[in-house]
């Protein structure tokens, strides 16, 4: 199935929770999903026999300065098709359901997006930092992040 056909399937099933289809001039298209429906949409994509998205390639957090996004690249090994989902989140309170129960690989990807961008994945089995030390302050991939002057006596000069 093409991403556009997948978008039509999702709209038919989830209505307003799915954003309108836009074909980009260059690059990959994506499907916008309302944060509240993300988990249900993902479960449908994984379990529907015609869609069967069994493989989550990656989850990326993005800071657009006015909002944050959590982006999901999905692929179906049995059907060979792929799709990109994007959830826009409030910058002040970025919360979205974890999909680690659907694809265990999401565990580490969500921890990374929490660590580097501060996105909270609700229902995650253990949302803690993964690349940075536990006592690190702030989320470095935020556009307004200021590096600390020192860390445990090691100066940043």
């Amino acid at each position: 199935m093409t991403p556009q056909e997948i978008h039509a399937r999702l709209t038919e099933r989830f209505g307003d929770a799915i954003g309108p289809w836009t074909e980009p001039e260059r690059g990959d298209p994506h499907i916008a999903v309302a944060p509240g429906s993300l988990h249900a949409v993902c479960a449908f994509l994984r379990d529907d026999p015609e869609l069967k998205f069994d493989y989550l390639q990656l989850i990326s957090g993005v800071d657009w300065t006015d909002r944050l996004s959590s982006v999901y690249h999905l692929m179906s090994l049995s059907h060979g098709h792929g799709v990109v989902l994007r959830v826009d989140l409030e910058r002040g309170n970025p919360r979205v359901a974890s999909v680690a129960d659907l694809w265990p690989t999401a565990d580490w990807h969500e921890r990374e997006a929490w660590d580097l961008l501060g996105i909270v994945y609700e229902g995650h089995p253990g949302l803690r930092r993964i690349l940075l030390p536990e006592d690190w302050e702030g989320h470095p991939l935020r556009k307004d992040y200021a590096a600390p002057a020192a860390y445990h006596g090691v100066t940043n000069a």
Binding site: E25, R26, Y55, Q57, L77, V84, P104, L141
Partner: protein
């Protein structure tokens, strides 16, 4: 009289211990720390702790030009530098609509496959080393040296090459170097049976790896495993075939998968054997690339301060360790708005906690070694 040293049943007790393997343990391949909960010789649980090699690649990429990101990518999986550079260039080229000359695409394929062999030879050597056999390492390095010498002549580097460039490649292939690559192919084909005699068919090696660390196919897919780790579990998925890039659709090659020859499908031996067979398949691809190498340019003109149109792109590539790709978002400026690197080792390693349960300490080494991780792309 009772001996002081004799165990007294009323005071005898056992205790579980939390032990650190790494970050400086010789079997953890770089700075990986495994926290293991042990009960005598049995490991009940293992938690990988990563991040020791975090170099803020994604943050740095947001403040440099597209061309300047390329050499950083070499340092992701530093044992597959050619493949990483290729994945980045393909992402930029697709979003920018930059055409790559056919000759450059062929050269990229040739170098990517040579790098795959070099990487698998290192995996062969270090895996044997992990399990206590020293000699195979020397064999692996003997043939790997020939590849490094070829890389040095075409790029100037022996570990990090910066060979694929936006819109092409850095240098052309000379007839002398083409001859050297052909000589390498012949030498590698001669040496391959030796490798198998030495290690693949070695009874001790088989006992250490067959039926150890079995990953069922469904589990491999659920944890996002790719490359030999996924194919070792019998899943025939290779991005060079599933989503061809850089003209891979023109090349004829087989996709080896785990068949459970020595034990169960998806065990450590199967993952090892997939890598060994991929060496032969890569040789076939290199030979076809040499035979069919088109004449012409090797570089399209690309501005130093390239501006990409607003949009996003993700081009997955089949690295020696699995799916590697860069999710690139542009807002029309000379630097990316966001670059997210997807390295196969990060995902392949994430299965460790689920896989290492109630196994011998020695098997932890066999299992983690069979996943063949490079911490450079785990920590980024």
């Amino acid at each position: 009289m009772t001996l002081l040293t004799a165990p007294r049943p009323d005071t005898l007790r056992t205790e579980e211990l939390l032990v650190n393997m790494g970050p400086q343990h010789p079997s953890t391949h770089g700075v990986l720390r495994l926290v293991v909960r042990t009960d005598g010789e049995i490991v009940r649980e293992a938690w990988p702790q990563i991040g020791f090699l975090h170099r803020c690649f994604e943050k740095v990429a947001e403040s440099v030009t597209y061309a300047q990101v390329t050499p950083y990518c070499d340092r992701m999986d530093y044992l597959a530098s050619m493949n990483n550079g290729l994945a980045w260039c393909l992402a930029v080229e697709r979003l920018g609509g930059i055409e790559v000359p056919e000759r450059a695409a062929y050269l990229r394929v040739m170098m990517a496959e040579l790098n795959r062999i070099a990487s698998h030879l290192l995996a062969f050597g270090t895996y044997a080393l992990d399990l206590g056999a020293f000699t195979p390492f020397l064999y692996g390095f003997r043939e790997r040296e020939l590849i490094l010498s070829i890389f040095e002549k075409i790029s100037g580097g022996r570990l990090l090459y910066h060979y694929p460039r936006l819109g092409g490649v850095a240098r052309d292939l000379t007839p002398e170097l083409a001859g050297e690559i052909r000589a390498f192919i012949a030498q590698m084909r001669r040496a391959w049976p030796e490798y198998n005699e030495l290690l693949s068919e070695n009874q001790i090696f088989i006992k250490r790896t067959a039926n150890v660390g079995v990953i069922p196919a469904a589990m491999a897919v659920a944890y996002g495993l790719t490359g030999p780790c996924l194919r070792g579990s019998g899943v025939k998925f290779d991005l060079r075939r599933a989503k061809p890039y850089s003209l891979y659709e023109r090349f004829d090659f087989d996709i080896p998968v785990g068949e459970g020859i020595k034990g169960e499908v998806g065990d450590c031996w199967d993952r090892y054997w997939v890598r060994m067979r991929e060496i032969i398949e890569s040789l076939r691809i290199i030979e076809q690339a040499l035979d069919g190498l088109p004449e012409g340019e090797i570089q399209t003109k690309v501005s130093r301060t390239l501006k990409l149109p607003a949009g996003e792109v993700y081009v997955p590539c089949e690295n020696p360790r699995g799916e590697s790709g860069y999710y690139l978002i542009s807002d029309g400026k000379t630097s990316p708005l966001r670059v997210k690197a997807r390295g196969p080792s990060f995902n392949n390693l994430s299965i460790t906690h689920a896989l290492v349960r109630d196994v011998l300490i020695a098997d932890v080494v066999a299992i983690v070694g069979s996943i063949d991780i490079v911490l450079g792309e785990v920590d980024r």
